[in-house]
């Protein structure tokens, strides 16, 4: 048998690996994908019993549970009152619902001038084919800016709670049991390398088409964030940090919010003072149309994606 490659070269090719797997010489999953068993925590029965006993003693000492009639009575009354309160609340609200106008009938008060104008003039005034986008991002743009800031401040609070220093992070990673998690999962990597680009492109499509079809910044951002979470699960934080680390996160977040804030301020102030604003509405149905909705959708999408990814990373690892 004549081979062009030397043995050493041949042993690196896929063919060699395939035949090696076929003949069962080496299982490729060993060393690359296997669950290492956790060291079992050994606790003899005596120790457990001792712990239970200690706990009982401590409770007894602190609260004097068995003799304290007040605590016993209070606990029972508390449960009773809580249940009673819930039932009362339930009855009250259900009663209220029975008095409300019937849902879906044409002559309720809800189908008034507000809804009529949104539906009839929405396309003309906002330039958005998707009336919902037109409503939340043009008529009620201020509310939506507030809603975007809710996401922003929620991430800030999670950061206060869970963010750790880089040094502490390394230490924590050694101590906790996450090192037993499967890394370099071949199946997940393969699937992710197929899916992630598709998910990213789809997310961008949802964001950019928010004014034309169902979707928009919030849903597009959620899809983008989910794609990034899939990526980080498949390839690990080290690889994700090459394109999305704390600095980039900050820049993306601040740019997105500022973009929305500035566009919004311009829109509010020109609109309120009766100054003509220079944002063209475009031709309804085209991708570059509908005035402020398209850039705001992109900004909201970016912010939502950052929030989703930051939540995941902070809860999982304590850092971005």
């Amino acid at each position: 048998m004549s081979r062009r490659k030397t043995d050493e070269e041949y042993s690196r090719t896929k063919t060699y690996k395939f035949f090696r797997w076929l003949s069962g010489v080496k299982d490729p999953y060993i060393d690359s994908l296997e669950l290492q068993p956790q060291e079992e925590k050994k606790e003899s029965e005596e120790v457990i019993l001792e712990h239970l006993h200690d706990e009982e003693l401590a409770l007894e000492k602190v609260y004097d549970v068995s003799h304290n009639r007040f605590v016993n009575v209070f606990e029972r009354v508390y449960k009773l009152v809580a249940a009673l309160f819930c039932v009362l609340m339930l009855v009250g609200l259900l009663m209220c619902v029975s008095f409300l106008p019937e849902n879906g009938s044409a002559d309720t008060v809800r189908s008034n001038v507000v809804v009529d104008r949104y539906i009839e003039n929405g396309l003309e005034e906002t330039g958005a084919v998707n009336i919902v986008s037109g409503m939340i991002l043009t008529y009620r743009a201020f509310d939506t800016f507030g809603e975007t800031n809710v996401l922003f401040i929620a991430t800030c609070c999670v950061m206060i709670m869970l963010m750790m220093d880089e040094k502490l992070l390394e230490k924590a990673e050694k101590q906790n049991d996450r090192r037993f998690e499967p890394k370099d999962d071949v199946i997940l990597r393969l699937v992710a390398s197929f899916l992630c680009p598709i998910i990213f492109i789809f997310a961008i499509y949802i964001m950019l088409n928010g004014h034309l079809s169902p979707g928009g910044g919030f849903s597009g951002g959620a899809v983008l964030g989910a794609g990034m979470i899939l990526y980080v699960n498949a390839f690990g934080f080290k690889k994700t940090q090459r394109f999305f680390n704390e600095q980039i996160y900050k820049v993306a977040k601040i740019t997105a919010l500022c973009m929305y804030g500035l566009i919004g301020s311009y829109f509010y102030i020109t609109g309120a003072n009766g100054i003509a604003n220079h944002i063209p509405l475009g031709i309804p149905g085209h991708i570059l149309s509908s005035g402020i909705i398209l850039p705001i959708n992109v900004a909201v999408g970016l912010e939502v994606a950052c929030t989703m990814y930051a939540f995941y990373a902070l809860f999982r690892r304590g850092g971005l």
Partner: protein, 496 residues
């Protein structure tokens, strides 16, 4: 349209930008950015107040679509006064506790503190100026989350527990408000305050939907009452105010709960209509819980052995005063309640900030026994604490006296509620005097024991200046109360 009409919207956006930019900055620059923007916002709101006092209220359309399609802000002299006052207290509280922040909060998280502060102020301003129920709800959310962050930014077990409790209680309140808004929208078909008011007036004439309306009023008032710690819902309060860092405690007690109360007042006048609210049964519920809070808050404060928690429990009593004023159901009662919002905001933040100075010279211990003689060791803080205490008790010359006088005056014209108000006001004043004077006597009792450090004016200049400014605000409110009361009265007239 006059350029001044833009100021409320600009001030809200400026505060939001302050928060957004702070998240990318270092702690020190974020602090200065926030301070500068706060002063700018303060000036803008003061100008708005002056403009409204002369020319009456105005409505500002956010965007080119008028109501009821777009968002709207509304400013009158009362809103302007509240916003200006909140900015003043915010700046003073922020700078009063700034040196404590370095010991209690991780230095890498300082910038996040200013993010919270900026967004908190923006949400307070939005709650004050909004003319739309749903905008109010969105900013209630921001306010709640920011308040949680302020509690837990000092990371120890007690603050985290307090933050969780605050979160649970506050979310129940938010949910109730949301239910209320949903029901109101269902029976009126509007979210804008003035349109809802027209519809509700028409409904009262037509006699349609009385039960949903009553339940909506109940949900809105109880929801906001839970969020502002009215008496039976106050369990989260002592931990949250007692263990968080001092700026947070001052801001939470004097601004966050007041923002919700002001929103309730605005809903009463601009959504439900004052007469409809005054004839519903809900007002008596608020009145009775307010009275109960005045007594039980003070009793709890007397039993407390920790000075910070004592001040926190005192808040429960003072919130009770405010709800009592709302529950009287007259314009005078409402004026007294709004004046008490100002009084309490000015005094409670002063007490928190000065108590921090007193505990600093007592070996960081907050029990009364260690505070003996602290007033001599830190003269400025001692004087400030004494002024705050006297104001809370209701001694003439200070703000607290005027609000108690206004409450009593308002009660005299009510046949049914006069006696309970006057009796409880008397009892509560005595109880207030018991626990505040006890503390003041304690800090001015000469102490000859273990040596504690002595602090002078020059040791902490910023802190001392902040305390002096707080005292000036208090005395100004007490001495020149007439123009403030006049502004409040005109603002309430503009509501209608």
């Amino acid at each position: 349209m006059n350029i001044i009409c833009n100021f409320p919207a600009i001030s809200i956006m400026l505060c939001l930008f302050a928060g957004i930019f702070s998240s990318g900055m270092k702690g020190k620059s974020a602090r200065w950015l926030n301070t500068v923007l706060l002063i700018v916002v303060l000036v803008l709101n003061a100008v708005t107040t002056g403009y409204c006092a002369q020319n009456g209220s105005f409505v500002y359309v956010m965007g080119k679509f008028p109501a009821p399609w777009g968002n709207e802000l509304r400013a009158g002299s009362l809103e302007g006064l509240m916003a200006t006052f909140f900015c003043v207290i915010m700046i003073l509280s922020l700078w009063g506790g700034v040196h404590k922040l370095f010991g209690e909060v991780d230095i890498e998280k300082h910038h996040l503190y200013y993010v919270l502060m900026g967004l908190l102020l923006s949400s307070l301003l939005a709650l004050i100026y909004t003319n739309d129920l749903f905008t109010a709800y969105v900013f209630i959310e921001i306010n709640t989350i920011a308040a949680c962050g302020l509690i837990m930014i000092r990371q120890n077990g007690r603050t985290i527990e307090a933050a969780v409790r605050y979160m649970v209680m506050s979310l129940i309140g938010s949910a109730m408000v949301l239910f209320g808004i949903c029901i109101v929208y269902d029976i009126t078909g509007h979210l804008l305050m003035s349109n809802i008011k027209d519809r509700i007036a028409a409904m009262m004439v037509g006699g349609t939907y009385p039960v949903p309306l009553l339940i909506a009023i109940a949900l809105l008032s109880v929801g906001l009452a839970i969020k502002s710690a009215l008496f039976p819902f106050h369990a989260w309060l002592p931990d949250a105010y007692g263990y968080s860092t001092v700026s947070s405690a001052a801001v939470l007690s004097s601004l966050v709960s007041k923002g919700y109360i002001f929103l309730l007042i605005k809903i009463i006048y601009r959504v439900i209509g004052f007469d409809i609210f005054a004839y519903s049964e809900i007002i008596d519920v608020l009145f009775i819980f307010g009275l109960a809070g005045m007594i039980f808050g003070s009793v709890n404060a007397i039993r407390e052995n920790d000075v910070r928690r004592m001040i926190a429990y005192s808040s429960v009593a003072q919130i009770g005063y405010i709800y009592m004023g709302i529950g009287m159901g007259t314009e005078f009662g409402m004026i007294a309640a709004i004046f008490h919002i100002l009084t309490h905001a000015a005094t409670k933040s002063l007490l928190f900030v000065s108590a921090m100075g007193l505990t600093d010279v007592s070996g960081e211990k907050r029990q009364f026994i260690y505070l003996t003689g602290a007033g001599y060791r830190y003269v400025v803080a001692g004087v400030a604490f004494a002024v705050g205490s006297l104001s809370m008790v209701g001694v003439p010359l200070f703000a607290g006296f005027i609000s108690k006088l206004l409450f009593a005056e308002a009660a005299v014209s009510l046949p049914r509620k006069m006696l309970p108000v006057l009796i409880v006001l008397g009892i509560s004043t005595i109880l207030n005097a018991i626990y505040f004077m006890k503390t003041v006597i304690r800090i001015y009792t000469p102490y000859t024991g273990k040596e504690y450090p002595v602090k002078h004016f020059k040791d902490a200049k910023i802190y001392s200046i902040v305390l002096i400014l707080f005292i000036i605000v208090n005395v100004l409110l007490g001495v020149y109360s007439d123009p403030v009361v006049e502004l409040i009265r005109r603002g309430i007239e503009m509501f209608a």
